[in-house]
């Protein structure tokens, strides 16, 4: 199974960098690099929700969770764990409203 970071990196490079990933690092901020506008963020949300069968709460749609490949991978990984563990499991980080 491909590593989650690699998988997300492929998506980001293909869709936001048009295949040109020269010097782009997994810790780089999408926002600082001007990689995506608000429509780009909506696209990213739709992608991870569909691809990983997770649902993002509004309170989770923040740069702390989505603004680099590393942050995104950590967040998606946690969401996958949360959803497989069931709704009683509290989110690992300070993401109010993550469980319902």
């Amino acid at each position: 199974m491909p590593n989650l970071q690699d998988e997300l990196r492929s998506y980001i490079v293909e869709n936001y960098l048009f295949g040109q990933d020269d010097g782009f690092r997994n810790g780089d901020s999408f926002w600082e690099l001007g990689l995506m506008d608000s429509t780009g963020v909506l696209e990213l949300i739709s992608y991870v929700e569909e691809k990983y069968a997770i649902s993002l709460e509004s309170s989770e749609i923040i740069p702390a969770n989505l603004d680099s490949i590393e942050k995104l991978a950590r967040f998606v990984s946690r969401k996958i764990e949360d959803s497989s563990a069931g709704p009683e499991i509290a989110p690992a980080m300070d993401t109010p409203g993550a469980s319902q």
């Binding site: 429509t39 963020v41 949300i45 509004s58």
Partner: protein
């Protein structure tokens, strides 16, 4: 003098008489001298910007060389037409009414929009109203993500975050409105051998708050260099009716009333105006914070948002790009 040592209003203060004369002179040079057109068509929405442009064109070209055009559609507020007529009457200028609802229906504007909304609100249908909104945003820990607000026929309001597909679907459908309006403006301009005036102010022009080949299309844009608060100063000087000057800026594009702040800026207009001024004039976030009534971090975030929005909207401002320029006409 440190420009931020005065209030935001004073910082953006202009000499409206002098600015009016300067703009009017340029309008006449452009329309008569450069374009050899006989007058100007102005699509007037009853908002502050289009009203000021109509007043400026009448002053520059003569009221008899101005056509004020109204283009309401099914979702327009009745106030738009009423206030638009007030502008034409104040000027004593000719006006024409083109209800574009039929064209929009034929193009599938409303149907396509409703289909896009149903992607996130499946029950949306006959009798519902809607608008899309941004959160009020000055917090760097959040994203400016669009939601749709719908009102059911029995008055219940619901707000749902949009998916990219739904957002783009709604946008692409509603953009028919601005493009149809512009088509009608050029129709009248062709008939009269007039030029078409564009009405964006500096905030809208700089941040791409317009539809490409819609309200972004024009032969000249006489207030694109003026911040919103400066447009209000001109309005007062020109004698734009008080009710128009007091009206809250609206997009008048959605069936639920939608302010420009909700749709695009996600920050009170006067603060956005002042922050854009600060950014354009190299003022630090720390200097700006107190005067704008924001924190330093908030101003830093707004500055970044301006940069990011400029990058994202470069395409909107760009003219068609040639692979090679042609020597004869550029």
């Amino acid at each position: 003098m440190n420009p931020v040592a005065t209030s935001p209003l004073n910082t953006l203060r202009i000499d409206p008489a002098r600015e009016t004369e300067r703009i009017a002179t340029r309008i006449a040079e452009i329309v008569f001298g450069q374009f050899k057109r006989k007058g100007a068509v102005i699509g007037v929405s009853g908002g502050i910007d289009s009203s000021v442009v109509a007043f400026l064109c009448a002053r520059a070209l003569g009221k008899e060389r101005v056509l004020v055009l109204f283009t309401p559609e099914s979702d327009s507020s009745p106030d738009s037409l009423r206030l638009g007529r007030m502008v034409a009457d104040s000027l004593g200028a000719a006006s024409a009414l083109e209800d574009i609802s039929g064209i929009l229906r034929a193009a599938g504007c409303y149907e396509r929009r409703d289909i896009a909304i149903r992607l996130v609100v499946p029950e949306y249908g006959e009798g519902y109203k809607s608008k899309i909104v941004l959160p009020n945003l000055t917090d760097a820990r959040e994203y400016a993500i669009f939601s749709v607000v719908v009102q059911s026929p029995n008055g219940q309001i619901k707000k749902v975050r949009l998916t990219a597909k739904a957002y783009l679907g709604i946008l692409a459908a509603t953009n028919f409105k601005q493009r149809t309006r512009k088509m009608m403006e050029y129709h009248h301009a062709d008939q009269l051998q007039y030029a078409v005036a564009g009405t964006p102010n500096r905030l809208e022009y700089d941040l791409g708050f317009f539809v490409k080949n819609g309200d972004g299309a024009a032969d000249f844009k006489p207030i694109a260099h003026l911040y919103k608060s400066q447009v209000y100063q001109l309005a007062e000087f020109l004698g734009v009716p008080d009710e128009i000057r007091r009206r809250i800026p609206t997009t008048d594009t959605y069936s639920l009333e939608q302010s420009q702040e909700e749709f695009y800026f996600s920050l009170p207009l006067e603060k956005m105006d002042f922050c854009l001024y600060g950014k354009n004039n190299g003022l630090s976030a720390a200097d700006m914070a107190e005067r704008a009534g924001l924190t330093k971090e908030q101003v830093e975030h707004v500055y970044k948002m301006i940069e990011s929005t400029r990058r994202a909207t470069l395409y909107l401002r760009s003219n068609p790009i040639l692979i090679n320029t042609t020597g004869e006409v550029g």
